[in-house]
């Protein structure tokens, strides 16, 4: 395997695609390659080409979660989502750009089962182990998106700047279809450069997990208030981060037999989050 260290975004995107992958902190990509779930003959290290750090309302995609956890200027929802994600070592290594692009934690997928999301015919979670799985958007693939940070950015209405375009975080994600099983709209040779934040009047992130620390979200709830309007987004409830247009939409959830409890947790956390802001 080859490791490239480009010095400009153009050089980096020129080297991407065709069996090469961008490497940031590597916390997600290195295990996936080692387990054979991602094939790459070239890694393009993007540390020197993707901005890092916070300037006003702009966050470089190469900023680590540990740096954001300590930043008193960013909205509380994002800070709390970072502080509660993964472990201290992973937060020091992992970047916010990489976090948004992490793959599902569904065990069937991670263990290389030929499931629907891997291009097969069957979602094994539907009749199998499904406690961590989805309650929305789950008719094809019932996986639950694990990013706390994506839910926070969705509630905050953040936008992304890539090497090609600017768009709302919501447009980074798509539900996979029979024809295209990707869960993001990013092109193979497109890099996320910056995240542009809005400034809410108040925001928060609440997370239900199996342990009090270091655990993926069972349900994460981000809420942000802009004047009279409150935006709510959830982690861990659908194959992609899920914007809740209204609290009533929780009544339209389609849980699997083993995930109904997540709807009740979401209800409680949404209520608490709204009270908190």
């Amino acid at each position: 395997m080859e490791l490239l260290r480009p010095s400009s975004p153009e050089e980096a995107t020129g080297a991407l695609g065709n069996g090469s992958r961008a490497l940031a902190g590597g916390t997600e990509l290195v295990p996936l390659i080692r387990d054979g779930l991602v094939k790459a003959d070239t890694l393009v290290e993007i540390r020197d080409v993707v901005p890092r750090g916070v300037t006003g309302t702009r966050i470089g995609a190469g900023t680590t979660l540990a740096e954001l956890e300590l930043d008193g200027e960013i909205p509380q929802a994002l800070r709390e989502a970072c502080a509660q994600a993964a472990s201290p070592q992973l937060r020091s290594m992992g970047t916010i750009g990489g976090n948004l692009l992490q793959a599902t934690r569904c065990w069937y997928w991670r263990l290389g089962f030929d499931c629907w999301l891997h291009g097969g015919e069957t979602c094994f979670a539907r009749d199998g182990a499904q406690r961590e799985h989805a309650v929305f958007g789950n008719d094809k693939c019932a996986s639950a998106h694990p990013s706390d940070i994506a839910a926070a950015l969705l509630a905050l209405g953040a936008t992304l700047r890539t090497t090609r375009r600017e768009f709302a975080v919501a447009e980074l994600y798509r539900l996979p279809t029979d024809d295209d099983r990707n869960v993001t709209t990013l092109a193979p040779d497109e890099l996320i450069l910056e995240i542009e934040l809005t400034t809410p009047d108040a925001s928060t992130y609440l997370k239900a997990m199996d342990r009090r620390k270091w655990s993926f979200p069972i349900v994460g709830v981000a809420a942000a208030r802009f004047g009279g309007e409150t935006r709510i987004a959830l982690a861990g409830v659908a194959p992609i981060p899920w914007l809740l247009d209204s609290v009533a939409i929780l009544d339209e959830a389609t849980p699997l037999p083993g995930t109904g409890y997540k709807v009740e947790i979401a209800r409680a956390l949404v209520r608490r989050a709204i009270e908190a802001i």
Binding site: G26, T27, V30, R34, P88, Q89, S92, M93, W214
Partner: protein, 129 residues
């Protein structure tokens, strides 16, 4: 795939104090410091280390934390201990008198199958004694 920092430390350089348990970023047994920052050497590709300084448990041989871990009996099988000490050393370097909450937050990425957590917390709380 390229070799990990843990493989190079253990197999090429003979620094076998650094342990590998899960090998995929979950447990913290392989923690080393890169420029003082606790980092998981099992998922760090060695070619990405660059000119950053690597501190392993061997480099912390004389740290007072080692004595604190022994004094408080914070070691059972000992497999997680090098990683625990490496994380703890970074914590006390930044914050010499961490509170219980701060210890629990900073140490949450180091799992211990033997369940020595209360003793590890005590070792860190009393490391200067």
């Amino acid at each position: 795939m390229g070799r990990s920092l843990a493989q190079v430390l253990r197999d090429d350089l003979g620094f076998t104090g650094t342990k590998v348990a899960c090998g995929e970023g979950h447990c913290g047994a392989c923690t080393v410091q890169l420029d003082g920052v606790p980092t998981l050497s099992c998922i760090t590709l060695v070619h990405t280390v660059g000119d950053r300084e690597v501190t392993t448990i061997e480099g912390l041989r004389d740290h007072r934390l080692i004595h604190a871990f022994v004094r408080t009996d914070a070691v059972q099988c000992g497999f997680c201990t090098p990683g625990q000490v490496v994380s703890a050393a970074a914590l006390v370097a930044a914050n010499p008198s961490p509170s219980k909450d701060e210890i629990q937050h900073a140490m949450s990425g180091n799992l211990c199958r033997c369940g020595t957590y209360p003793k590890i917390e005590e070792a860190i709380r009393t490391w200067q004694d």
